[in-house]
């Protein structure tokens, strides 16, 4: 299907449109598995662009429409969504649980169900990353990379490299992360994976930023490079991330003064906060509010500062004591 190709090339509206064309025009002619695939794509889009509540709502309908519980695609999608949400909300135990389920789904024979297996280990690595077990995450990601390399899975290759870079970044090892990010970027370039390339560029910017404030200019230009792509086609999470990086670049740049141009910082932060609200991504939302509070502090606006600080606290507590873990599996 053309939609998948567009997904890789990075044009979200094109994905949506092509899927809709398919769902609308060939609804009567297509086989149920193909149609369900179309629906899966649509729901994925929803999750990425409109948040989880909308996606789960649609998922329910789709399950009604394709009642066979064995319908693997929809089942898979459900698990993917649940996993993402658990990660975002900070429900690590549940995330781990879903990862294990993933592992079970694929057959144990080596060389079969490769896609499912890579997906499972990718998710495991991300869960580990979220749990701050960096070395384990890196180990999983490394083994995953060798598998992908073996089976010539270019798209996965690039995203695994990116993941590695991310792992190094989070473990405060920015220098180690740089080569991975660069490799991922060049990988994407050669395969026209524009969106992934943009996010690789973004990661690169984050890494530079982590290297110190004198690299802020370079990071900023990298963000500028990737912004049109990310804003146009990236999901909510990616968009929010780029906005945060943008704000951070400005804040760390020693030549930039907040009081002169507060909009340059606050505008992206507000946009990021909006997006993250829909996504229920506590970790990043906390970061946004932290940055906001800092900015307001600089500007001397105490009331706004207190407000942002309160929101920051809210998100942090939500992240630290995942109270409603039970409903994470419910939707």
């Amino acid at each position: 299907m053309r939609a998948t190709a567009w997904e890789h090339y990075g044009s979200a509206p094109m994905v949506r449109m092509n899927t809709l064309v398919y769902a609308t025009c060939f609804a009567d002619a297509a086989s149920s598995s193909e149609l369900s695939l179309a629906y899966v794509k649509l729901i994925e889009q929803l999750a990425v662009f409109k948040g989880y509540s909308a996606a789960f709502c649609a998922l329910k309908l789709a399950e009604e429409k394709f009642p066979s519980s064995t319908n693997s695609q929809i089942h898979l999608l459900k698990m993917q969504l649940l996993h993402e949400r658990a990660l975002h909300r900070g429900h690590l135990r549940i995330a781990q649980q879903i990862c294990d389920e993933f592992g079970v789904l694929s057959s144990s024979v080596s060389g079969v169900d490769i896609e499912l297996k890579t997906e499972a280990s990718l998710r495991r690595a991300r869960t580990l990353l979220a749990a701050k077990q960096f070395s384990q995450a890196a180990a999983v990601a490394n083994s995953l990379f060798t598998t992908c390399y073996k089976y010539n899975m270019q798209v996965e290759n690039a995203s695994v490299l990116l993941l590695l870079a991310e792992i190094h970044r989070k473990s405060d090892n920015a220098v180690l992360g740089l080569p991975y990010a660069l490799a991922s970027q060049s990988f994407c370039k050669s395969f026209n994976l524009d969106l992934l390339e943009a996010s690789a560029t973004l990661t690169l910017a984050e890494l530079w930023l982590a290297l110190g404030s004198n690299h802020a200019k370079r990071a900023l230009s990298l963000v500028y490079q990737s912004l049109p792509m990310i804003l146009g086609h990236g999901g909510l999470e990616l968009r929010a991330r780029s906005q945060i990086v943008l704000a951070k670049c400005h804040l760390t740049d020693p030549e930039f003064s907040v009081s002169e141009d507060p909009c340059a910082v606050l505008d992206p932060l507000n946009q990021a906060a909006e997006d993250l609200q829909v996504l229920e991504y506590h970790e990043m939302a906390a970061e946004v509010y932290y940055l906001k509070a800092m900015t307001y502090n600089h500007l001397g606006k105490e009331y706004e500062r207190e407000e942002a600080a309160a929101r920051f606290k809210e998100h942090v507590t939500a992240l630290e004591n995942p109270r409603d873990e039970e409903d994470s599996l419910v939707y």
Binding site: S11, M14, N18, V21, T24, L46
Partner: protein, 800 residues
Amino acid sequence: LSLFPPVRPPKKTSPKKPPTKQQAAMAEEQMEEASSSAAASGTPFQLQFDKPIPFQIKLAEWNPEKDLLAMVTDDSKVLLHRFNWQRLWTISPGKCITSICWSPDGKIVALGTEDGFVLLHDVENGKMLRSIKSHDVAIICLNWAEDEPLSRTDKEDLLSYEDRTTRFFPPAPVMPRIGGLNSGDTGLADENEEAIQAFSSASCQRFNILCTGDKDGCICFSIFGIFPIGKININKVPIHVQSSGKRTSYRLQDVSISKVSLSRNLHQLVLLCSGKLINTDNLSLSNDLSVGVHCLHLDTSIFSNRKNELHQVSQQASSIQDLVEVVRASISMMSKQWSNAMNLFHEKFSALPSLLTAHGMESSSEDEFMSLLFGTHTSPALHQFLVSSLGEAGLKRIAKTIESAGRELRIVVSEHLQPAVEIISFRLAELRGLARWRSRFQNIGLDEKLMDGVTERVGMLVVQVERFSRVAATVLYLFQNFLSWVLKCVKILLSEPTDQVPSTNSELVVIFLKFLLDKDPIKQLLETDQIFEWDIDTAKHVEHLVVFGGFTDTKFLERSLAKQFSELEESLKEAFLMPFTTVSSQIHCQGLLPLYPVTSSDALSSTSTPASIAFYKQDKDSQHNASSYSSTDYICFKIPDGSLNLRNFVAVIKDFCNSCSTSNTPSLSGFLLHIPVEYECVDLSLYKDNQVVLLLSGKSSSENAGRSWMVMLQTENLSFSQFSRTFPANYYNLQELEALELQLDTDYGKVRSVPHPLSTPLAVSASRGVACIFSSRRHALVYILDEDEDEDEDEGSEME
């Protein structure tokens, strides 16, 4: 020092008698020799050649890149000549041309017409690439300025934006041609298409803006000359003037623009216009003197500050507009093709009902075919219809027509319509991405909501196209099936063998009779005002999809393809209007300088008064601050006789813009130049390196009739005196200026006599260092202005 050597002939030749052509040519030859041998002795401006031309030339302009001269004749023919006077092409656009200019890359010549059109012509073959109606009245002046490449700093390079479309799509589809019918001129059409193709791709190279000024005081700006980005009406622009601490508001009335010039950094626009200056605070202050020629300075920094953004947007938007045209052409062509085929079909089959009535039967044609299909009986009417009025040949003709129409339809859909719609949607998605970058793009008016709306619409259009191709395929198959069934029946009725006829499906024949005999779904889809019925299942399905992120407008399938397209167009227009209005509202008037009064009687002729505006880079402080270099504007114009009580004067002023915006830069200064009484200034032009080229022609009354001079003055050698720009105490400050006597044998500049009475226009080319002048005896003379300088000096450094 004598003022001027009135009768002294040029150094070598003295054509005392009015020269015949041969003599003139000989004289020129001698002169040429002389000038080349005696260059040291001081005859400047080597004559390249002197050619008679059979037309009176109205406008002439040198190509900025190549040695080409475009000329417009009095009867609005456009000629393009090479430097060696070889003619490349002539076109007659059939409209009165009022202005001409070249695109900065020299690939397109833009013509402004009397009825407000801008015509863009290809330099290669003179073919028209575009015609854009941007004004209501005559376009008096054009100026096409390109962004200075030097002003791009490192930071902007990093912001460079890649158009991804070319990586993912094959070349954009072009307008479909009516196939088959006029295969004779396809070659021509092909060329044209290629040209348009090349144009749209080539025009996206560097950022440039075409300004057009019209007779009613409107100025339009369009990026690449095709994407309109702003329009301002000078009549409505408030002009605030700071004079002695007091702020006064003015307004101009009955404006007619005579000259526009956009600086190379796109930062400022200087224009000359005639009109009545009114003090809006105190209307009684205006008097006769307030009608005059004024010089305005507009702040167009929006273009330079936002040029990257504007570039990206216009790049996408202009190609979207191209593709929209492709879609429009495709739809209209399909509709034409199909209706032709259908007309034939209905024409033939309409005979049946009348035959039925003639036989006194009340059944419909559908019933008759049905009974034929189920073998009950064949009524005499149907028998007569099938065998005699339709006949085998007629049937085959219909089948063939419909088949070929169907094939055309398929080709148009698959090769033009579908790819075009797809690329539109991709480009729109890119634009939407840009629109989301609020901090950067909102201030040029790219609105996220509107872009979302357009994206939604184009998505629906994609679905519509897909549906159309399905419907068309079904209908065509049904037609084919039905027609071969009828053919079979005819053969049976004539008791001929039927083994040649392909087998048919009688169920599909029933469907055809039920749904297609009277209706025409293809036509419905191709017409705007039709409501297309769509079955309930699908409608439900579409509603269902909304939850999954489908189109919220669930009724869209009821619309026809053409209707959907027109809706897309509307929303596109709305979306692109936003940048247009936003940018227009950010162009402000920065300063005003009344130049000279005109009496209302000669207000009309004042537009043709020679004037020239140019921007020169400031060479002093530009080196160490390349990113924000400033340019000095020079305005040079002839003061009409009698105005300001001056006769035979030419004024040159400089630093008008800078004096408007900042206080510390050199303030407004200028000088007046008195032309010797026996001569009058025919035309003038600013030339590179701060020079002024003047054409002086002997007045017919004087003894110098028939003698002319071309003068090049180095303005730096002349003393500029400052003058204040405060008014209205005395409206026209130009009177303060010092008047210099022009003495043609001094060191002011170079002088050369021309043995012809001269007429407008004067065309100088800074990049080539040549000037072309036209004599009133229909001669064109080309002079080399820079023969002293290194001729191998590369063009880049000559270009300012």
